[in-house]
């Protein structure tokens, strides 16, 4: 198990491509949301600072807004809200993880990006059933490291429409979405 620390800026553009190639290894980008979460590194395009988010009215509450990434308009998902964690203000360490999920590219708003790590497959266990609820199948497992746990997320499942709508049921915007 090896661990690579990101540059002080937390911007991983330079070092990410090196790790993208070896897809077979379980390479993760981990980030903090109170607990440490991780997504496969090959899904991560880049990590950017938070700025210029345009709010989109009549959209689900966990939809933070849209950003301009070199001319592309990307939706940004507030991961804390999506995972129903206590919301937290955007701070200096906050980052947007630009990730691919299926054929979509989205931004994930996180408290801070921690590491790029390599986890041996045998260190990953499925999440204990007792802590899972319905609609939490986006948690694919828990990576056990020496002194900490990393919750592994499946982005595609996180974005799946039925999940989103369950999560957004109290939200007016979500309902209008269905009309169209």
């Amino acid at each position: 198990m090896s661990e690579i620390h990101l540059p002080a800026s937390g911007l991983a553009e330079e070092i990410l491509p090196r790790y993208k190639e070896k897809k077979r290894d379980l390479h993760l980008v981990t980030f903090n949301l109170g607990e440490e979460y991780g997504v496969p590194i090959h899904q991560v395009q880049e990590i950017i600072r938070v700025s210029g988010i345009t709010m989109v009215p009549n959209s689900p509450s966990y939809m933070e807004g849209v950003i301009n990434l070199r001319g592309r308009v990307l939706p940004v998902l507030n991961l804390r809200k999506r995972l129903k964690l206590t919301p937290k203000e955007i701070g200096k360490a906050s980052r947007i993880v630009v990730a691919e999920a299926g054929d979509k590219v989205i931004g994930l708003l996180v408290d801070a990006v921690s590491h790029v790590i390599k986890v041996a497959p045998e260190a990953v266990e499925s999440a204990p059933e007792e802590v899972l609820e319905i609609d939490t199948d986006y948690i694919t497992g828990v990576g056990k490291l020496k002194n900490r746990l990393i919750i592994l997320l499946d982005l595609e499942k996180l974005l799946r429409r039925e999940n989103i709508e369950v999560a957004g049921v109290t939200d007016e915007g979500g309902e209008h979405g269905k009309e169209d």
Binding site: G52, V56, S59, I67, N68, G71, V73, G168, G177, E179
Partner: protein, 559 residues
């Protein structure tokens, strides 16, 4: 389109079909019979036959028909492919030669009777001979084509790239302005601004070039209608001429694709309800043939498409009767002409029952009105009893880059497509009145509903006493959208919003401004929906926006 251009199109097209035919034949010759390969020939050959007939090359049409017959026999297993393959290969050459002859002289109409006779002979049995006649090598190259077929998506990608280029250029301009004061070297900063200006011009040229490449003459849509009009007219025993005007006017392909259906409904209406039977026309002293004019013209950034008929005009009494009988208006209501015109666009006005009896207009016109709004366009109707009716559609030239009015509410900036905007006025808070809990304003002797942008989009911020109203038009109806400030007009590149999290009501898309900020584009259709629910009469009940309407009704009851 000139006739010579039609011939050019025909030849380009034919060259492609012939190419498919050739390569399939070569494969058959080499690998023997293969049903899949034969099937690939039949489509192009059939198209080529049809096109030849359409262009008046009757002999060629008959010849290709004969070739098709041969292939049919092969498919049915009556004749082995080996027996006719030479004849088929010959036939490709015959077609090639004919195309070449036409290329040199479009009025030539080569007679192929002899060839038809020959190919029939060949079906009877092998004669072991291929035609020994000399071949013209250059005929294999075909005529040089001046057009290429390009997947439309490539143009979309190019346009997106140019859109980004425009954004970066604006950014550079801003940096340049900031730098001008900061650096002491005057001649250097002059050179920079000169360079930027040149780049700006080139980018503008590039953008225009790509926009042009995406354009098609509106004739592409127009040509679909003469046959429909003829058939519909014949069915109703009417005589109607469909006349084109300005059919060379060019429109972005995306718009071209979207206007077909609205035009179909309007033209159908003109045939069904506008034009009278010949007898009735004679009594009125009109020519016995009715005329429907389909015209297009460009006016600055818009295209105006008109469907004009010289028929009986809208029978407003009948529209009123129908509306009353359908419960759309009360029997003692006397709506004005404009109100009546807007009734024909109401969804409740059209039902299956309605279309069987010839009554007021209205078949599918609600759909028309909605589609036009979706395109950020406007539709208006002008009708003179006894003289005829004109439907006028105003559309943006392109759906990708549109002029937009930038407006501000609170701290948020939104873009409103200019084509939907009639005008904007400055008002005071006192000018707004409340009727039945809804805000309205008196505008040109009419009372029109007001939608507040800040309320609509949940934007917080202090309201001012003086603000602006943007007047939107849809058919004869008007609607005012209240905003804090107007920030001027600007061309914006529309980017669709990702719908991973559902579509956001009221947002048609987004655009990136020069400073990199994203501005959201307001969906004008949503404003109309917002006001739909305010009417108690229920003429909009049939509208498929029901969920939204229902929600608003509930709110009303609570109050």
């Amino acid at each position: 389109m000139e006739y010579s251009e039609l011939v050019k199109d025909f030849l380009d097209d034919a060259g492609g079909h012939l190419g498919v035919f050739d390569s399939a034949l070569l494969s058959l010759e080499k690998n023997g019979y293969n049903n899949a390969v034969v099937q690939t020939i039949l489509g192009p050959l059939h198209t080529l036959k049809g096109n030849s007939g359409m262009m008046g090359y009757e002999s060629m049409k008959a010849y290709i028909h004969q070739v098709e017959e041969v292939l049919k026999k092969v498919v049915d297993g009556e004749v082995p492919i080996e027996q006719v393959i030479d004849a088929l290969l010959d036939s490709a050459n015959v077609i090639r030669e004919v195309l070449q002859t036409i290329g040199k002289d479009p009025s030539a109409n080569p007679d192929l009777t002899q060839n038809i006779f020959l190919i029939r002979e060949r079906l009877k049995g092998p004669d072991g001979k291929t035609s020994r006649k000399e071949i013209d090598l250059s005929s294999y190259l075909g005529a040089k084509t001046e057009t290429i077929k390009v997947d439309f998506k490539r143009f979309d990608d190019l346009l997106n790239l140019v859109g980004e280029l425009v954004i970066y250029k604006t950014r550079l301009n801003q940096i340049e302005t900031q730098m001008r004061g900061a650096i002491g070297n005057k001649s250097l900063s002059k050179e920079l601004s000169g360079g930027l200006e040149l780049m700006g011009k080139t980018i503008a040229g590039l953008q225009e070039g790509i926009m042009k490449a995406r354009m098609l003459p509106v004739l592409h849509v127009f040509v679909k209608f003469p046959r429909m009009v003829r058939d519909l007219a014949r069915l109703q025993e009417k005589e109607i001429d469909l006349v084109f005007e300005g059919e060379e006017t060019e429109l972005d392909k995306t718009v071209i694709d979207e206007i077909e259906e609205p035009l179909l409904h309007i033209i159908r209406n003109a045939v069904d309800h506008g034009i009278e039977e010949a007898g009735e026309r004679a009594v009125k002293g009109k020519g016995h043939r009715g005329v429907i004019t389909l015209s297009a013209a460009q006016e600055s950034n818009y295209v105006i498409i008109r469907v004009r008929d010289d028929g009986r005009g809208i029978d407003f009494d009948r529209v009123r009767e129908t509306a009353v009988s359908r419960g759309l208006i009360k029997s003692d209501e006397v709506p004005g002409k404009e109100e009546l015109v807007s009734l024909i666009f109401a969804a409740g006005f059209t039902t299956k029952k309605e279309t069987t009896e010839v009554s007021g207009r209205g078949i599918g016109l609600d759909v028309v009105s909605k589609n036009i709004s979706k395109l950020n366009g406007q539709i208006t109707v002008d009708s003179v009893p006894g003289k005829g009716t004109t439907f006028t559609i105003k559309l943006p030239l392109s759906l990708a880059i549109i002029p937009a009015l930038m407006v501000e509410a609170g701290d948020e900036v939104y873009a409103v497509p200019m084509s939907a905007v009639d005008e904007s006025i400055k008002v005071r808070e006192e000018d707004i009145h409340i009727i039945n809990n809804h805000e309205v304003i008196r505008f040109r002797e009419k009372v029109i509903p007001v939608v507040r942008l800040d309320t609509f989009f949940n934007i917080s911020g202090k309201r001012r006493n003086r603000f602006y109203l943007i007047i939107l038009g849809r058919a004869e109806k008007r609607l005012a959208v209240a905003v804090d400030r107007l920030k001027g007009q600007q061309e914006i590149v529309i980017k669709p919003l990702d719908d991973t999290f559902g579509k956001s009501f009221g947002i048609a898309g987004a655009s990136v401004l020069g400073d990199g900020r994203i501005v959201l584009i307001a969906d004008v259709v949503a404003f109309w929906r917002e006001t739909l629910g305010r009417r108690n009469g229920g003429i909009y009940e049939g509208d498929n926006f029901a969920p939204r309407v229902a929600a608003i009704h509930e709110r009303e009851q609570e109050v």
